[in-house]
Structure formats: C-alpha cells, structure tokens
Symmetry: C2
Subunit: 163 residues, 2 copies
Amino acid sequence: MEDVIRSLGFLCLGSRLKRIGEQLQADTQRVLDRLDVPVQSSQYPLLAALDRLGALPVGELAQALGIAQPGVTRSVALLAELGLVEVSQSNNDQRRRIVSLTRNGRRLVDVAKRDVWPRIEKAVADLCADLSGPLLDQLAAIEDGLAAAPIDRRVEKAGAVVQ
Amino acid sequence: MEDVIRSLGFLCLGSRLKRIGEQLQADTQRVLDRLDVPVQSSQYPLLAALDRLGALPVGELAQALGIAQPGVTRSVALLAELGLVEVSQSNNDQRRRIVSLTRNGRRLVDVAKRDVWPRIEKAVADLCADLSGPLLDQLAAIEDGLAAAPIDRRVEKAGAVVQ
DNA sequence: CATTGTTATATATCATGTTATTGTTTCGTG
DNA sequence: CACGAAACAATAACATGATATATAACAATG
C-alpha cells in the first residue's frame, strides 16, 4: 500500500512531520512506561524548561516551549495534581502565577537527567546519525529506521551496553 | 527567551517535529481560508489518497495515510457530511465500507490540484530548498524561515509571480 | 482618581491524533 | 454445519495541540 503522505512530498510536509513526531513520542512513552514514572512523555519538555530556566510564569513558560498559553495552563494543572510542580503568586504582580518544581519534581528531573534522558537522546541521535542530504530523504530514512526498530527497542540495546 | 525544545536537541525531537508540522498546517490553513473551501488542511491528505488510489475501504485508507483507523472513520464522517466523499458497502464483504469521492469531492480535488496544491508545494519546497547538513540544523532553518515568512505569505508572492 | 486600555491567566470549545472496546461479518476447522 | 477465531469498522475515552473569549490585575491618561 502506497504511503500517500510520503508520496506527496513537500505538499504534506506538515502532516508528515506531525506523524513522525507522534511516533517518536509514542515510542518514548513506552520507554517511560517501563519505569514507574506517572508522567506522559509530552510533559517532560515543561519539566526540562523549569530545570533549565528556573521558576517561570505561565506565559514565559509557553514562550520557552513554543506552544500556546492554554496548553501550558493545562499541563501545569496536571503536573501540580501529580505534585511535581507548584504555583505561587508573584509578589509585585498579582496576575502572574509563577510555576516551579516541587521537591518531588526536582527529584524526578534529577533521576531522569541521570538515568533516562541520556539514553533516549542517544537512541534518537543514533537513529539520525548517518543522515545527510535533502530533508525529505532524511525523513524517509527516519521513518524506515523507526519501522525497523522503534526508539524503545533502541534504548533497550543502548541500556544493555551502558550498564 | 530560550527555546527549550530546540536546545534539548534529539531528546525532544518528537515534540519539535510535531510543533513544526502544526505550524505548517496552520499556515496552509490560512491559505485555504482565503479561498472558499470548507475543508481543514489536515483533511486534504485523505482526499488526495482517494484521488491517487481510487475508492478504498476504511482500513486501507488508514494504512495509506499512516494513521489509525478511528481517525479515518471520523474524517470520513466529516467529509461525508460536507458531501465530498460517500461510503458504500462492499459487495463481497459486508464488513468493509468503501470510501469514494463524490462528484463535488472530485471537483474540489481537481481545482485544488490545478490551482492550490502546486503553489503550496512550491512555497514549502522553496522554504526547504537551500537546506543541507544535519537534520537539527535543517529543522532550525525551517523554524527560522517560517518565523521570517509563513507559508501563506510565501504563497502570496509565488502566486503573484505565477499569475 | 476614575475610566479606559493592556496584560496575564483561565476557561470553553474545537481539531485531530491515540488506544481500548464492542458489535458484525467472515473464515476455518472439527 | 456449527462454533470459535479473526478481521473490519464504529464508538468511547483520553491526550494534547489550537483559537476565542472571559476575568482579573495593572498601567496610563484626561
């Protein structure tokens, strides 16, 4: 069966990038599922942003993540429910709500930074290591690579080597 | 403000691809909004699949588009509501529901193929034309290019030249 | 200093992807 | 041929992106 999105080339580049991105996230989710972490893979960028930049108001967090503000509001509510972030009022401006990592959130990020993220990053980097040439060719190579061995399988192998 | 997704490189490649894909689709949507077409940009791949491959059952359509079957069921219901596709029972297998373009759907695809898709494809191709090198660099160039001039502005210009 | 505009966030609604489940129909086999 | 397994599509429930709008706090000005 012909892959229409791939055949259409630049015309459907948006759909194709979304599709690859979703697959990568789903693969990564399977890695996380094997650990005991109650967080979706898509929430990690927010945690990583707080780790890199420190406590931030909602709007700046949205800017740092490149997504719209309501998405951040929702993610923050979810992560606050899980006890990983907390929200405090700004002193000088009562409108701003400053988001920061809780002690548990800090611990989760530290563990992830040490044990999980490097493996995922390495698996994705390996997947993309030998790519060169035009963008569409590189995307096709990524799709083929993921079909041959999804990220979670690549992490397994890398894990075995690292340990 | 630092772009955390970009900074994190391969670790958040999935989020980043999704983000770029969504932006491309939103830009394309703005092109379509200026025409009179009542169809979301994300529905065009389905129409294009029927155009390229002819009438197809739901499952094969899902395979051709690389998305899950329930997504196709929903899109087909939506496009059928708009009168662009229709569904008929298969003769030999009562389980299969064959999706095909209606006369209106056929006309829409023909117009799009002639007047719209070539411009969008050209605008996206131009955006990606001079890219080379590692994937992450190419993605950064695309992000910068879209920030400088989104697809709908590029289509305008291309349209002016072509006409 | 009251009113008016702006900014920051929350909420509502929609779009579109996912997985899990259910109900039919078909197939294969004892 | 009957019955259990498999295949196909629909539905339910959820995730996560978007835009539009409402609300509250701040700022600026006549």
